[in-house]
């Protein structure tokens, strides 16, 4: 893009249209400023709380389990639970990012409206914001994985694959919930989302114990939730027990949540913002 284009954009008459990269980049550029501003709070919320889980479950509960039973199926409990905690903490961050901040931009600060008064369109705003969330998930998950690795939470180098899997799991929550937020008038629905959906998911998605410990009737519930698929995939790659067809199935389900969520989200956001 030459300087001429930029000059023409400051002048009168028809202006050179923006490339997709420029439109999305402008939104992510803004999000980057916002994230930089809230970095300190982010470190606490996205890093310390999973660390507590790591200490309590992995090391506290883990040493008890390992002493009694020799781990889960021969795997030390810490290494069993860490990949799952990685996926779970990404889920929490992904859900948070798709609720309150999105509601803020839609309704409280109306910053989406200010973006849509410019050449940007709904899709640019959505791609830019979800892309920024994805970046944030990558960063938070990386930091957490590094700490978990120092605690001895990973058995193999294959555990590095936990990063993309956790981020995909996060997006499987972010995208549909982003759309859900677009349909909400206020934050009341988020309480239900976190208490009645996120909390049971965290507990019953094979995170802290394999789902075959659950009553038979509860197991299918885990199958339809993204977190179980994320947890199973992360555990496979971290423990080096990859079962290719299953891994493909799990990631396929996660992708489906992202794709179907995307269509619904774009529809809901357009309906909300273009009135």
């Amino acid at each position: 893009m030459s300087t001429d284009v930029f000059t023409a954009r400051g002048g009168h008459g028809p202006r050179p249209p923006l490339a997709t990269r420029e439109r999305v980049g402008a939104v992510t550029g803004y999000m980057l400023l916002v994230y930089r501003r809230t970095l300190r709070g982010t470190i606490i919320s996205t890093f310390l709380s999973p660390l507590f889980f790591l200490l309590a479950m992995g090391i506290g509960l883990g040493s008890l389990i390992d002493e009694r039973t020799g781990g889960v199926g021969g795997v030390p409990y810490l290494q069993f639970v860490v990949p799952a905690i990685v996926a779970m903490q990404t889920m929490w961050l992904a859900m948070f990012e798709a609720t309150y901040p999105v509601m803020d931009y839609i309704r409280w600060s109306k910053l989406y409206d200010s973006m849509l008064a410019t050449p940007l369109r709904v899709r640019d705003v959505m791609v830019g914001h979800i892309g920024s969330i994805a970046g944030r998930l990558v960063l938070a998950t990386s930091v957490f994985m590094l700490v978990a690795a120092l605690f001895g939470g990973f058995a193999t180098w294959g555990a590095l694959w936990c990063l993309p899997i956790a981020v995909l799991t996060g997006l499987a929550f972010t995208v549909p919930i982003f759309g859900f937020t677009a349909t909400q008038q206020n934050e009341d629905g988020f309480n239900i989302l976190f208490r009645l959906i996120a909390t049971p998911l965290m507990l019953f998605s094979g995170t802290f114990f394999p789902i075959d410990q659950l009553p038979v009737w509860m197991q299918p519930l885990a199958w339809v939730t993204p977190l179980w698929h994320g947890v199973e995939s992360a555990r496979m790659v971290a423990l080096g027990t990859v079962d290719p067809p299953w891994l493909a199935l799990h990631t396929g389900v996660l992708l489906m949540f992202v794709l179907v969520g995307w269509v619904l989200c774009e529809r809901a956001l357009t309906k909300r913002l273009v009135t």
Partner: protein
């Protein structure tokens, strides 16, 4: 994205904005009911009306963010339904609520917004310096937005809207909620823009604002245009030169309405006062005195757009 290069730069008689039969419905509710207007380059054009008259809905359609329900709307000769981004690239928008990021600094808000128009980083920084100077916010450039006064935030919103050098500036109630001093400062800035040839489109429910800033305006009520013209012409057409305002020590001013019949051109009864429309306020005041009527207070003033609005709709602008 289509690369449209419309051949409308040198449009006949420089009409930048035109509408006919423009309608906006939300479900069963008709917010804008078949309005028509045209604005030329360099003009400053106002929509005057009370809350709920359809001004903001009209503005959002002009801003190419709200789809038109029916009728025709052309901005820079283009249809917002098909050329929204191209139109918005040339507009500056000052929304009713500032829509600033309160957590970011003043200059960060400017930079971010300029990037939405595809301006380079260097360009937004350079423009931000000039515009913050213009908005008298240079000293606050590195401060967070949140603690700024309402007037400062409003000036920042205007500066932000100017970052892409828009050909037309849309202002939705630019001074609502500001104290008199902040309003005058803002008017001064807008007046400078007008002198520089920027086309201003604004909505307001303040008659003094419309009188100060608008070359031409339409009066809106219930989604319709009830009158159109320059402020002066509207006053001449729909009101008298002067108004005598009378207040009495009564609960219901209507009882004095009859006693004053025949004085001036006509008498309007408001809940808190009587308005006598007349060419000569002092003579009318003398007549009132001659009839032995003793008001608590009486005031002679010139007619304003408020009187025009009252005459056209039977209601006051600001309740």
């Amino acid at each position: 994205m289509s690369v449209t290069r419309p051949t409308v730069c040198g449009m006949a008689n420089d009409v930048l904005l035109s509408a006919s039969g423009l309608t906006k419905r939300f479900g069963d509710f008709t917010a804008v009911d078949g309005v028509g207007f045209a604005v030329r380059k360099g003009e400053s054009f106002g929509f005057l009306g009370p809350n709920g008259a359809g001004k903001s809905s009209t503005m959002r359609m002009i801003g190419a963010v709200s789809p038109v329900t029916a009728g025709e709307l052309r901005i820079f000769g283009q249809d917002p339904a098909t050329n929204g981004p191209q139109i918005r690239a040339r507009l500056g928008v000052v929304p009713q609520h500032d829509q600033l990021d309160q957590e970011l600094t003043v200059e960060e808000n400017m930079w971010v917004y300029g990037r939405y128009f595809g301006l380079s980083r260097a360009q937004v920084r350079e423009r931000a310096v000039e515009l913050l100077e213009f908005a008298q916010l240079t000293e606050r450039a590195k401060d967070r937005v949140e603690p700024l006064s309402g007037g400062m935030k409003r000036r920042l919103t205007i500066a932000r809207a100017l970052i892409s050098t828009p050909e037309m500036l849309l202002l939705d109630e630019p001074t609502t909620g500001l104290d008199p001093q902040a309003r005058h400062l803002l008017w001064d800035r807008l007046f400078r823009l007008k002198r520089q040839g920027v086309t201003l489109i604004l909505t307001t429910h303040y008659m003094d604002e419309a009188e100060q800033l608008c070359d031409r305006l339409v009066v809106m009520d219930h989604g319709r245009i009830v009158a159109e013209g320059s402020p002066r012409a509207l006053i001449r057409q729909h009101s008298t030169r002067e108004v005598l305002e009378l207040r009495f020590d009564v609960d219901d001013h209507a009882e004095y309405g009859a006693k004053l019949a025949g004085i001036g051109d006509r008498v309007e009864v408001l809940p808190d006062r009587l308005l006598v429309y007349t060419e000569d306020g002092d003579t009318a005041a003398a007549e009132v005195h001659d009839r032995g009527v003793q008001p608590l207070s009486s005031l002679v003033r010139r007619s304003t757009l408020e009187d025009v609005f009252l005459h056209l709709t039977g209601r006051t602008l600001v309740d």
